[in-house]
Amino acid sequence: MSAAATEAAQATFRQPSILPGFGLTFGFTTFFLSALVLLPLAALVLMAGSMDWHSFIHTITSPRALGSYRLSFGASLLAATINLVFGFIIAWTLVRYEFPGRKLIDALIDMPFALPTAVSGIALTSVFAANGWIGQYLEPFGIKVAYTWIGVTVALTLISMPFMVRTVQPALEEVQKDLEDAAETLGAGRFYIFRRIILPTVLPAMLTGFTLAFARAVGEYGSVIFIAGNLPMKTEITPLLIVIKLEEFDYKGAAALGVVMLAISFCMLLAINLLQAWGRRRLTGVGR
């Protein structure tokens, strides 16, 4: 049956099925998707495309734009790297150890997903301001977090943290305990076990989590603008520059920067898909 069905699928658009409603649901899905997502995104690309090449390049390589890329990408990369370390430690703690409140902590990991970005923004700012709960202890050391690039990194670290933890957690659960036990019986040390058994299993997940965290951080707006200070060239992220251009009715300039960000998101999406495919191949290659 399946061979015949595959042949039929190759010959026609879809495989035959006795279930009704394909036309209705498929039509509704594609219509809704086109009207709400694809058409407006096409409008963005068209708007940027209506600029002549010279002014497009001029807009996306202006010193202010370059400064905003440096902050957006630099801080996002740093935040994703911080999460690579701490996200792994948190995932490890939640998977491997039992301690009071573990289930509560596990549920709270998703908080940055559920919490509106404006709320995390004002809350982080007041915690890390010079007179805030944590900021007051950093101030004497000359460390200013709020209204500097450090603050931007802190906000991006918080909002991208769940991506890392939630990607690494299931991978850590997959690590075969009997392999670890066997290695230990054969005299392997803990670090050796970590390097040769645990790390290879969770590496694809860690890279996927890193990319997801980075992709989310690059586009983030709400939580950053409160803590950033928003000085042009210094603490101004690219999404904010887009908003400023829109408020000045410079639609084309905004669209040009938007296309740059879309292109980057697209590359990230591609990277995530490739990483996940690699991870699946690796896992099945290692054998279950």
Binding site: S17, L41, T93, Y97, A114, A123, R190, G219, P239
Partner: protein
Amino acid sequence: MAGQAITLHDELASRPGHDTWLTRILRRMFILVSLSFLAALLFAPLATVFATALGKGVEAYFASFNDPDTRSAIRLTLTAVAVVVPLNTLFGLAAAWAIGKFEFRGKSFLITLIDLPLAVSPVISGMIYVLMFGLQGWFGAWLQEHDISIIFALPGIILATMFVTFPYVARELIPLMQQLGNDEEEAAITLGANGWTTFFRVTLPKVRWGLVYGIILCNARAMGEFGAVSVVSGHIRGLTNTMPLHIEILYNEYNFVGAFAVASLLTLLAVATLIVKTLIERTGYKRH
């Protein structure tokens, strides 16, 4: 899982020649690092929301909700959500039926397109509608001629919110419907039930937890969306200010009790979302 971890550790500890103090110290260190990281980045900001909101007493907290602008912000957010969530639920169900129940060409491409809004910066999600319907946008002149306002008005807010929450229900339902298979639906159809009966009596009860899961995540994001709505709203006090935008205005006016009071409502919403989500996961419905 956790129980397994405990027995494994006890087993390792009792094994001759194994340095038990090392594993103990490692365990304590990992838990300590995880908790400190989360305390600084997540728990302190959450606590500060309520501490600041209640900082001038309970009366001041409740009085801040008597502000007519705050009330209209709450009303506007609820209105937008009342339109967005049902529409995206309907879309999610249709998309899941078309994609989960049938085999057709280009299916994975369609799934990627549905996920697209998650990869796009919120600022871009708002901007695309400004480029379409804003004054200098593609349809701006035509809309002005016919006296229709979309940008800086409720329709724009609804469109932007719909875009960012577009994939939430569909993402939960598509893998669930694929995994559950078509056997029961095919049996129902063969026994003479029509499509709608099959959907309401067979499919819907099977996927109900996935549906609720998707709806609450969609709802939380819709109520809390800041970036996309900020771009299309125009920030007209009492008219086009949603709750997250109102938080920004109050915060910038140094009305911290007011800002954090509204923020506390959204934080409670996030907490409620996480509780429902955790309860659903306990019924056996798992994300991964």
